[in-house]
């Protein structure tokens, strides 16, 4: 009797531990905080004014971090600006064109609605989700406590992208317009553009449909028309135009 009760208690404790201590095997909804980091010094590469580069390096920090949050359920994601970084207000240079993006993606219908601020205008870009040809590799890395696998791709004909996705989070989405991997993308790096997005934490929370509303501000446009519009307006900017068009079209 005594042995039986001890055994039962032990089994109960063990199963209790199993029930409370371990996280769910697959995550289908929640919110992820991303840190978007830009290397400000590398943005000046290609400039031939050494004196200006020296001056900027002395008076500006090397990296600028902006925080975003990605709210997701099984089929939809909403990526929008997160907590404010007060240090960014002190910067006198390095204002990003992608700092206030709001991207809503319907991963089943393969449609996205993005609210993008480009200089003085706000555009509401409605288009199909970008089809990215990912090549999954064997390399893994831990991000925000999750084991992630690496995948590489080339987008917009010339930009090399490295992404890390985690199959424990089943939604096939990610920050900005990155999606299409068998799991949530928790890290993205574009080495030649010197920018990265990395998840800093995940909070498991209930996600109501109201939390995933589409953005609505801005002039409605699609990707092709937006690219034309930008190229036309910035054509006097020479090589700087390409840099800004790439950042906005992401």
């Amino acid at each position: 009797m005594k042995v039986c009760s001890i055994l039962i208690t032990c089994i109960c404790l063990l199963t209790g531990k199993l029930a409370i201590g371990q996280p769910p095997l697959f995550i289908t909804h929640g919110q992820i905080e991303f840190e978007y980091k830009v290397n400000l010094y590398s943005q000046m590469e290609g400039d031939n004014d050494e004196g200006w580069k020296e001056y900027v390096k002395k008076n500006l920090p090397q990296f600028k971090s902006t925080y975003f949050k990605l709210t997701f359920d099984q089929n939809k994601t909403l990526y929008e600006p997160g907590k404010e970084n007060p240090d960014n207000n002190k910067l006198w240079m390095g204002e990003g064109v992608a700092d206030e993006n709001v991207v809503y993606s319907d991963l089943v219908l393969r449609q996205s609605v993005s609210q993008k601020k480009a200089f003085e205008k706000v555009f509401l870009v409605k288009d199909s989700i970008r089809n990215i040809q990912w090549k999954i590799t064997g390399e893994t890395r831990k991000i925000a406590g999750f084991e992630c696998r690496r995948a590489n791709a080339v987008i917009m004909d010339s930009i090399y992208v490295v992404a890390f996705y985690c199959d424990e989070i089943t939604t096939p989405g990610g920050p900005e317009s990155f999606s299409g991997l068998p799991g949530m993308i928790l890290g993205v790096a574009m080495p030649h553009e010197h920018v990265t997005w990395f998840a800093t934490k995940l909070s498991l929370q209930d996600v109501k449909p109201a939390d995933l509303r589409q953005p609505s501000r801005g002039k409605p446009i699609n990707n092709a028309a937006l690219k034309e519009n930008l190229k036309e307006s910035l054509k006097d900017w020479g090589k700087y135009a390409n840099k800004y068009v790439k950042q906005i079209m992401l």
Binding site: D47, N48, D49, E50, E84, P86, D87, N88, N89, K90, L91, W92, M93, G94, E95, K117, A118, F119, E120, K121, N229, L230, S233, L234, D236, W237, G238, K239, Y240
Partner: protein, 639 residues
């Protein structure tokens, strides 16, 4: 005589030559100059050094004519003054400076700047002046003068700037220590003959024939410590404390010709031996707040100064103590990105100079005599500025606008008294009511179809200036109104043409002379063209046409059409070498002319200046970095 400003800083020493050692457009220059530059970085870029040496020899010869009109309350006493001047000056300047910077660690740095300049200056000047009454051209005085000087001026300066970031984020300390030392010595001759007339008949004649010597030295030390303490993630307090020490001495002696014909008779009236020591303490406190939508920076510096002046000839000592305030506030509001409003206020105290309170006897110009005013009060200047700007990259529109309002309490102005023989006696006095307002707008946009950039600009300024003429209050209101237009078309590596035009209306009215208000129009046209041809050839041409209307005071037009052009070819990868042939002022029309219209005085100065010339130039950019020639319209977003 040295003068000191409100902070106790010694401002130069006026000398007999009246030349600052630079070519400023008057006369014909001959320049020989060369230099050396060295710079290097080591220890992982933590240490760097930058050294420069420059030698310059400049000769300037020239002639000029100044025609002025002095308007007096009693119109019958108003007179014209015509002056012809000639000068022959030269200067030899050796200058060396170096900057050494070291980064001890990521939080501590030191920057040392040292420099020295050795100057040898020789000047010669002659002048012939005549003054005539406006109403009937009766002569009231004429004068002939000749001055020559030969002097040395050597100065050494240094600055040590130490900066440290302390443990807490945003907490910083910086200390600046700057010593300066200057010595000068010169000798010269002053000869002048002045003849005065009453009702057209000679009444008084003066001859001055003197040898003058002068030696001087200035030692100053400026130190300042600044401490920044963060009080939240977005705000901080900045406290500073500074000490300024200035010790200077100036010994000037004038010698008249004695019986033996030598210059050895000391003229005490025009000799002086002064020493001036000033000590200033300057604490300051400012608050800074940086948020996404707005920024605030406000606070004030206060200066506590003590002056000690010793007259070594009369064996007297004068002391003064005063307090100066420098409040300022700066506010920025960002409506959107590249779309902001800026508001700025700053105030400052200006103390009367010792020269205004108690001038030293000076006979350099017998037609201009200065008298002191011991009752002078300090003036306080208030300056408000409001700016609004936006830059719309996608719509190709930009605007820059601003308003500036400045008014002064107890401004230090002048009371001029002209005696019957045309000598002007000036005294500094306080006035209330001086102000100036200026506004400008600059709007740029693009006409999409033909791809032409336009820019409209407008500039308005209005001033009120009070002074006393023959003890009568004279209020002068003057205004300047300009409208401008720019149009340009740019196609990279093909063509860059533009056209700029502006029209200005100037007017000035003095209360003591109700009939005499001066007003005139001037126009300016400026076409500009660059053509980029195959085989890396480039042709450039620009024309600047200025038209000035005749006025009663200036009865000759001063219209000038300056046309410059050059033709060149670029070589080497990245267009780093340019060889060009250029012609300046092809139509040979450059005239040296400046006009001055204010209170009771209008003048026009015409002088000889460089005219048409040709150049063959070789420009080679051999810096290691960079591949492209600078873009014409490249832009970066700078917030």
């Amino acid at each position: 005589m040295m003068t000191a400003d409100a902070n106790g800083n010694i401002i130069g020493q006026d000398d007999l030559s009246g030349w600052d050692g630079n070519y400023s457009g008057q006369g014909y220059p001959l320049v020989q100059t060369g230099g050396l530059h060295y710079n290097n970085k080591w220890d992982g870029d933590k240490k760097s050094i930058n050294l420069n040496y420059k030698i310059l020899q400049l000769f300037v010869n020239g002639n000029s004519t100044t025609n002025s009109e002095f308007i007096l309350p009693d119109a019958s006493a108003s007179y014209y003054q015509n002056q012809h001047q000639g000068f022959k000056n030269q200067i030899l300047r050796n200058k060396m400076d170096g900057v050494f910077e070291t980064q001890f660690d990521s939080a501590t740095s030191l920057k040392v700047t040292l420099g020295g300049t050795l100057i040898h200056k020789i000047t010669q000047g002659t002048s012939a002046t005549q003054s005539l009454l406006v109403m009937d051209s009766t002569q009231i005085n004429n004068a002939l003068g000749h001055t020559s000087t030969d002097g040395d001026n050597n100065s050494f300066n240094g600055e040590f700037l130490f900066k440290k970031k302390l443990k807490k984020k945003g907490r910083t300390l910086s200390v600046d220590f700057s010593p300066n030392y200057n010595t000068s010595r010169s000798t010269g001759y002053l000869f002048s003959q002045n003849n005065y007339f009453t009702h057209g008949a000679p009444s008084l004649s003066q001859v001055t024939d003197q040898y003058k010597t002068s030696t001087g030295s200035i030692f100053s030390l400026n130190t300042k410590a600044t401490y920044t303490e963060p009080i939240s993630v977005s705000s901080s307090l900045i406290a500073s404390y500074g000490i300024q020490v200035n010790n200077s001495a100036a010994d000037k002696t004038s010698f008249n010709k004695s019986q033996q014909g030598k210059y050895d008779s000391v003229d005490n009236k025009y000799s002086s031996d002064y020493s001036l020591n000033t000590f200033t303490q300057k604490p300051g406190l400012y608050y800074s707040l940086v948020k996404k939508k707005f920024r605030v920076y406000a606070g004030s510096d206060v200066g506590f100064s003590g002056f000690k002046q010793r007259d070594l000839l009369a064996d007297t000592l004068g002391t003064r103590h005063f307090t100066n305030y420098y409040p300022s506030a700066f506010l920025t509001y960002n409506i959107a990105s590249q779309n902001s409003i800026w508001l700025n206020y700053n105030g400052s105290t200006t103390q009367p100079t010792l020269q205004q309170i108690q001038p030293v006897g000076n006979n350099d110009d017998p037609l201009n005599i200065a008298v002191g005013n011991a009752a002078l009060k300090p003036s306080f200047q208030n300056n408000f500025r409001l700016n609004y700007y936006f830059f719309k990259a996608l719509s190709n529109k930009n605007l820059w606008s601003g308003i500036n309002y400045n008014f002064t309490d107890n401004a230090i102005s002048t009371n001029s008294y002209v005696d019957s023989i045309g000598r002007k006696i000036t005294q500094a006095v306080n006035v209330n009511g001086n102000y100036s307002i200026s506004a400008n707008i600059n709007y740029g946009f693009k006409w999409k179809k033909p791809d032409i950039n336009f820019n409209l600009s407008s500039n308005i300024s209005k001033n009120r200036y009070l002074s006393y003429v023959n003890s009568l209050l004279n209020t002068t209101n003057s205004g300047d109104y300009t409208l401008g237009l720019f149009a340009g078309k740019f196609k990279e590596k093909k063509i860059d043409i533009s056209f700029q035009a502006s029209v200005t209306y100037t007017n000035s009215k003095s209360s003591i002379q109700s009939s005499g208000s001066v007003h005139y129009w001037s126009y300016n046209l400026n076409p500009n063209a660059d053509f980029f041809l195959p085989l890396a050839l480039q042709i450039h041409s620009d024309l600047n046409y200025t038209f000035r209307q005749r006025t009663s005071a200036f009865d000759n037009n001063a219209n000038v059409a300056l046309w410059n052009a050059w033709f060149g070819k670029k070589f080497l990868k990245g267009d780093k070498l340019l060889i060009k042939v250029s012609a300046n002022d092809i139509l040979n029309q450059n005239k040296g002319i400046t006009r001055n219209v204010n209170s009771n005085f209008i003048s026009q100065n015409t002088y000889n200046t460089i005219q048409r010339f040709y150049l063959l130039s070789l420009v080679w950019n051999f810096s290691k970095a960079g591949t492209d020639a600078p873009q014409n319209n490249g832009m970066m977003i700078i917030n």
